[in-house]
């Protein structure tokens, strides 16, 4: 067991990469971001002070993320900025985040702080703060139901080939592609948007001869939304116009959607 600790140290150490660039060290750290980058820092010495900086990368897009100009993101950046006691410098049209010290013994501490600051901000920007939790929950629920009740392979929440159209579940068979959409929403507007988007996406791919079946499974658990006049009208239309290729099911009738799969196996 004692070798495990040696493995930990060795493998974590292997994540450091350093290059000398003029009077600056370019250091790739083991701190990772959720968009698959490792945080890079730049270390230099000016007037006997060690400077540790992001090199302007955070705001210049080097991490493939733009900091949205929304108050909530500014608050997130501000939160980490305060936590790690960062400093900011605008020069040559760039914004640098940095920390400085004349105490050599604090240099690694600064590297730790700045790397965590950059990593935290970049990862936070990847969060979709405006996503509809009701939609996410319903989709997870539906995916779980398919995974546990149908022993068949599905691609969930994927784009169909390179059409730009995403579907809740895609199953590819020799006889053709079967598509499912799971429609929900935390409020009437969100529900209506998801319902119409689903209908539109199915209408677009309906022309493809390799798509054999398209089924919409709608969340009918919220009577307030489900009883909305537009939602009712739209669902009545979808139900009345369904055919062998286009189907619509309430979540309560999800078992029927599964029987649809076995019926065309």
């Amino acid at each position: 067991m004692e070798h495990i600790f040696e493995d930990i140290i060795r493998d974590f150490n292997s994540l450091w990469h350093v290059r000398k660039r003029g009077n600056t060290l370019e250091v790739s750290t083991p701190i990772a971001t959720t968009n698959d980058r490792f945080v890079t820092l730049f270390i230099t010495l000016q007037n006997r002070a060690f400077i540790v900086t992001d090199g302007g990368w955070l705001y210049s897009g080097e991490y493939d993320c733009e900091i949205p100009d929304k108050k909530v993101f500014q608050r997130i950046v501000g939160h980490y900025y305060d936590c790690y006691e960062m400093q900011r410098l605008k020069q040559n049209g760039q914004t640098f985040f940095f920390k400085k010290t004349t105490d050599r013994s604090l240099l690694t501490r600064l590297i730790f702080d700045v790397a965590n600051f950059v990593g935290s901000v970049v990862s936070s920007v990847g969060i979709h703060l405006n996503s509809d939790h009701r939609v996410s929950r319903f989709k997870s629920q539906a995916q779980h139901f398919f995974q546990t009740h149908v022993q068949q392979e599905f691609e969930f929440e994927k784009e169909l080939d390179d059409t730009g159209l995403r579907f809740g579940a895609i199953q590819r068979r020799k006889s053709g592609i079967i598509l499912f959409n799971f429609v929900s929403g935390a409020n009437v507007n969100s529900y209506k948007n998801n319902l119409t988007r689903s209908h539109m996406n199915f209408s677009i791919v309906e022309r493809r001869s390799d798509v054999s079946c398209m089924a919409t499974i709608v969340d009918n658990s919220q009577s307030g939304i489900f009883g909305n006049r537009y939602v009712k009208e739209a669902l009545t239309f979808m139900t009345e116009t369904q055919n062998e290729r286009r189907k619509v099911y309430n979540w309560d009738n999800r078992e029927k959607a599964i029987s649809l799969l076995s019926g065309i196996a």
Binding site: F12, R21, G22, T44, T53, L89
Partner: protein
């Protein structure tokens, strides 16, 4: 974050494209300011290839007028991701998003190349020509490596020439510096 993946149906055609000779008109002049990154110079130019993957072109980006901070890539209109193959220098270490890979192999510093592996995963790797490099790679050497790994040449079979210069500005060699913090006073 959405994982970039090439559908298995496309992998054979993809590798045919990568291995096939490609040609491009030379010299390639990189002189346009990039729309979303005003500090980058950018250029896309058509390439011809007998095993094309959609409509293909070559792309070059030079960031911050720095000869040690650039990317070369092959692009297609057939994928939403567009990028088929890319050499990066100076824009940070990539973390390969792969399961069952030891920690020590996740981190791929620049210079590195991105491509789709045999399973369609978009990964970074360092080919033999780049594996032992510990110093920043000058853009001319990076371009030579890209041409070699991506099988790109001029129509006459020689290596294409790259000219990086913003319209009306001094040539890049004059305004660039090896030190990314030169002139910045903290």
């Amino acid at each position: 974050m959405k994982k970039i993946k090439l559908h298995t149906d496309h992998i054979e055609g993809y590798y045919c494209f990568l291995k096939a000779p490609k040609s491009i008109a030379s010299p390639i002049r990189v002189s346009e300011v990039k729309g979303n990154h005003k500090k980058s110079l950018y250029k896309e130019a058509p390439i011809s290839c007998d095993a094309s993957f959609g409509n293909n072109c070559f792309g070059c980006e030079v960031r911050r007028s720095d000869v040690y901070n650039y990317s070369f890539q092959f692009l297609t209109d057939q994928l939403k991701h567009r990028v088929l193959f890319r050499l990066d220098e100076g824009n940070g270490t990539h973390k390969n998003h792969l399961p069952n890979v030891p920690l020590s192999q996740l981190s791929i510093p620049t210079p590195h190349i991105h491509h789709f592996d045999n399973d369609g995963n978009w990964i970074a790797y360092r080919p033999g020509a780049l594996a032992s490099i510990s110093e920043p790679l000058h853009i001319n050497d990076g371009f030579a490596c890209f041409c070699q790994e991506g099988v790109l040449s001029s129509p006459d079979g020689t290596m294409p020439t790259l000219k990086v210069q913003e319209d009306g500005a001094f040539p890049l060699e004059v305004i660039s510096s090896d030190d990314p913090l030169e002139g910045i006073i903290f």
